[in-house]
Structure formats: structure tokens, C-alpha cells
Subunit: 332 residues, 2 copies
């Protein structure tokens, strides 16, 4: 019998699950479809844990803690989901519902904050970093001294809704020209409006062919991402910003655009140049288990008697060099 | 004999000095003109300490620590001023120069960061706050858990140089539309360009009479200040933002404009409304000794063996309710 810490990254379409063994090796990763609405989400969480146990060759009874990352507003101390529009969940005591069938400590955390913990752990250096998620929306998680920084009211790292252009497009939040309207996948796809299987890739491809809207949107992605990184550096002053999320599936094409933008802006501003922002960014590798690993670490923090009611959750960056399966090995 | 902790706020035109007694009462405050250039600044610092001792009825030999807030770039661990354009100082080992005549621990800190420490101390609650200085330039100091938050490279709180309008005026830093170009006293006075004894007051007065440039600049001040406050809330998520600096001499007129702006923006954005930003701002009272008191506390931290080389300087908020002289009692 082994003690397994489970982490789940619950997305709008799939749940990624990960089991962390006693020696901080990743025992297994699985992926199953997400449900819609309270009951379906609860059922999918249990299904994911059972599938994970089967894949990892352990029993559900071996699970000692569960951490769940959720896209939306959560009450982390209370273990409740408050508003997760992509899951059809409005208010749900998810921790209690999971504990009713698996009686172990269960932590609920915002998915980006959980991913920040995982990204810091994977880097092996979480002294001062942010994980900037360029997904459907844009948000960051801040990790300082190895600990998740929540802030006074849990909005630390919400740089996606800093407005950077008063004449910009209206954001889903109601403001104009939020960072998210430039580099959030949802806003870019809406502005693009042409559909297609990989619309963001189309934007990058057609920008190279001179399509005016594609050029504007592609430049906007770098403009917004640069502003997001700089906002994190100029306010929280994190040493490193790790970028992840769906938009970063564009990989080096996105990173090159972003670095180019940061360099051009720095060339006009000695102050910006002194910040050396372009040296402080890195991309989360494709297929990284940061989100589910981070969720597992958030759940495991409950085992150590750490108090998730405080601003800080003590999650040690102790899984650096953990045995990560390559993306291809993730079960579909 | 008493043990006096001295704090100096060195400005472009004057030095404010404060002596803190053993029971955390303010023994005396004085104000003398600043010098220009290395030697004159060093001499003025000594003159200020001698004037303070005379005013407070103590001997310079009673001074046990000195903290100096400097407007510009400082190497706090090294006790050096790196770049203080308003003082004509480019690189100066000020701590050593002061210690050569008064052999006690001497700390050098950026003036806004020092003021943040002082403002937190005066509030009696420095759990999670920022001090936002709307002076010639715009910058903030962040205090978390009673400790000054410097960040990884000392740029935490530098929100003045977040660009919020790509078509905005060119900032002294080289970027366009920085927050500082909207609500920094220097940028506003330059854009106003009409001189006068109190140009910012003129801007507010003439805006009420419908002067188009005055209206634009006055609205810009609230626009920029609102963006600065929101950037601090959306990145570091501090519970409270205390505003100070020369621009806040406009008092309630500024605060009313800012609250109005925050309320109007919140009316368009449920997300912003949920942050309740307008309830989280307050004004540093006129004549507040926050800057010199903060400098004294930064200097005193050296006495307790606290290591200013770390990201955090432990400065306890232990002078709440200290016996502050009213502004009228400050010596000219």
C-alpha cells in the first residue's frame, strides 16, 4: 500500500488527473471528459480518480489527499466553488461532496493558482515567480518564497482585467481594452470570427500572409501579453514569469513575438530596458502537468496541518525533477 | 540619556527629519533645505540631524540609528544612492559618509518605500496595504504582514510606469501613456504649461469653469490614479491603498474625483464592482510624518539584527497612536 496525493485539473471539456507517490514521483496521469452542472462535475471527479487509480495500479483507498483546480471563483478555505461558468456550476460545496465518497482532506483552488504552484514546483525555483495563463481568459498566479500568494481578497495576479487601452474592445468584464481582450483566446477568437479548427494558428498563419485583421490580432496578442508580464514585474516584481495556457500552444511563434515586442518597447525606454523583462519570461513546456500537479500539492498541504485560511499556503517546491511522463503517454 | 532613532526624508527642496524616542513617541520634527550634489547632500543630512537634536533637546550622541529616504534608485543593502536626479547625485555611498561622522547603523531606502512603512505604522494596520505616492512621479510601496515588500529586484509597486493608453503622451521613461503621464504632478504641470504658484489647483479650479485643457487634465488625474489603485489591487491584491504625495494636497477634491471615477467604472463592470476598490482607498492626512517616520523605522530595523539583504525588512507597525505634532508645529 502506498500513500497517493491526487490532483485534478478540471477544465471546461476535460479533467486531467495526476497521482503523486510518496517519493514525489508521478505515478500516473489520466484524462477524462468533464461533466456539466453540479452532479455531473461531482461524478466526473470520482470517475477521474477511479481511472487514475486503475492507470497507476493503486487503490482509491490509497488516496490520502485530493486537490482540485477549478476554472472560476472558489472559496478555497471553505472548499466551495462559487462561480464556474464553463462548468455550469454556480455554488457548490465540492469538497464535502467528494469527501462523502472518499473520506480524505480535499482542497479546492482556482485552476490558475493551482497551476502556479505546480509550475513553481516543476521549475525547482519558486522563490519569486508568476504563472501567467493565456487561456480563454487571462490570469496569473503568484508564488513567493515557495508559497502561493493569494492576496487580501484572492485577486492577486488578476492582471487580465487591467485596462491598457481606453478605446479598446469591450471585455467580458465590462471594461474597455482589458489585457484579456488582447491576448485571451476567447476574445481573440471572437474578434477573429472565422471559426476553423485552430483559429489562433490561422491568425498567426494569415498574419504572415498580410491579412489585416490577422496582423492586428497577432500584434495585439504580443501587446497584451507584454503588458501582462510587465504588470506582474512592475507591481509584484516577480523574478520570473512562466507562460502557459491554450494560447501558448503556438509555442515559439508566440514567444518570439512576445520577446520582439518586449525588446522593441525596451529600446524606447531605458527604464523598461533596466527591468530586463525579456530575460525573465519562459514557456511552460507542452504537456506539462503543472495544473494537476499543483492541485495535488494544494491538496497535500492540508495533510501537513497548514492552514488554507491564511493568505499563504505553504507548498514546498519539492517535486523538481519528478519523473514526468511525456505528453504522448497521457491517457485519452 | 535617551536612545533616539532618526528618520530623514530627503526631498528635492527640503529634508524632513524626525526623532523617535524609546516609547515610540515622536520627540521632534524639523525641516531644512536640501543641498545639490554629493557633498551638499551629505552636509545637509548632518545639518538636519543637528537641527533635529536641538529641537528635540537631545544630543547627536543619543542617536542610535539613522534611516534616510531618498527619491530615486537606491541599493538598500549596500546603503548606496544609485541615481537621484532631483538631488544631483549619481552614485554615492551615503551610509558610509554619514557613519563617518555619526557611527551608528545607517539605512538608505527609496523614499516612497520608506513612506509606505511609515504610513502602515501610522495606520496601525499594515497587514496588506500599499502607499501610492502621487508626487512629481508616481510609485507605490507595498507592505504585507507588517513588512516592506521589495520584490525580486526592488521594483515592486512601480505601477507609475504601467502604460494604460498606447496613444497617450510620452512619459519621461520613454513609454507612451504611462499612469504617471496622467496623474504625476510633473507630467500634469508640463502638459498644463501655464505656470502659476499652484498649477494643480489652477487645473482643478479652471476645470470647474470649463477650460478644455483643464477638464482633460483633471479627468486624466482621476483616470490615472484609478488605474494605479486598480493595478495594485489586481496584481498584489492589497487590502488598502493609502494615497499621498504632492498631488494629494488637493485633498477631498482629488479623492471625490477618484471615488467618482471608480464608481462610474464599477457601474459598467460587475467584476470591478466586486473588488469594492472605492472602499479600499484613503488619503494620508496633510502634514503626516509617514515618510520620515518610515525612514526612522527602516533605520531602526538594522538595530534588531534584521537583514535588509532579504526581500523583506521586518518593521513592526508599533507606532500607531504615536504623539504626532500637527503640521503647524513643524519647524521651518
Amino acid at each position: 500500500m502506498t500513500a497517493v496525493r491526487v490532483g485534478l485539473d478540471v477544465g471546461g471539456t476535460k479533467i486531467e488527473a495526476l497521482g503523486l507517490g510518496e517519493d514525489d514521483t508521478i505515478l500516473a496521469r489520466t484524462r477524462i471528459p468533464t461533466g456539466w452542472g453540479d452532479e455531473a462535475v461531482i461524478a466526473a471527479v470520482h470517475d477521474a480518480i477511479e481511472a487514475l487509480a486503475a492507470a497507476g495500479g493503486f487503490a482509491v483507498a490509497d488516496v490520502v489527499s485530493i486537490g482540485i483546480g477549478i476554472p472560476g471563483l472558489v472559496d478555497a478555505p471553505g472548499g466551495r466553488v462559487l462561480h464556474a461558468v464553463n462548468l455550469g456550476v454556480d455554488e457548490l460545496d465540492l469538497a464535502s461532496a467528494v469527501r462523502a465518497r472518499i473520506p480524505v482532506p480535499v482542497a479546492i483552488e482556482n485552476d490558475v493558482k493551482a497551476a502556479a504552484v505546480g509550475a513553481g514546483s516543476l521549475r525547482g525555483d519558486a522563490h519569486s515567480m508568476a504563472y501567467l495563463n493565456l487561456g480563454t481568459g487571462v490570469a496569473a498566479g503568484v508564488v513567493i518564497g515557495g508559497m502561493l500568494w493569494r492576496g487580501a481578497r484572492g485577486t492577486a495576479g488578476e492582471v487580465g482585467h487591467i485596462s491598457i487601452d481606453p478605446r479598446g474592445r469591450v471585455c467580458g468584464c465590462g471594461q474597455h481594452g482589458c489585457i484579456e481582450t488582447f491576448c485571451g483566446g476567447g476574445a481573440v477568437m471572437k474578434a477573429w470570427g472565422r471559426g476553423g479548427e485552430l483559429p489562433l494558428r490561422d491568425v498567426f498563419d494569415l498574419a504572415e500572409k498580410g491579412d489585416p485583421l490577422a496582423v492586428e490580432l497577432r500584434e495585439g496578442i504580443a501587446f497584451g501579453a507584454a503588458a501582462a508580464v510587465r504588470s506582474l514585474v512592475l507591481s509584484a516584481d516577480v523574478e520570473t514569469v512562466v507562460l502557459g495556457g491554450g494560447v501558448t500552444a503556438l509555442g515559439d511563434r508566440l514567444l518570439d513575438d512576445l520577446r520582439d515586442r518586449l525588446r522593441r518597447d525596451a529600446a524606447e525606454s531605458p527604464f523598461l530596458a533596466s527591468l530586463r523583462v525579456e530575460e525573465r519570461i519562459e514557456l511552460l513546456p507542452a504537456g506539462s502537468p503543472a495544473a494537476s500537479l499543483g492541485a495535488a500539492l494544494v491538496g497535500a498541504a492540508l495533510l501537513h496541518g497548514e492552514n488554507p485560511h491564511t493568505d499563504h499556503v505553504n507548498i514546498e517546491a519539492d517535486t523538481a525533477g519528478a519523473d514526468i511522463e511525456p505528453e504522448g503517454a497521457v491517457h485519452g
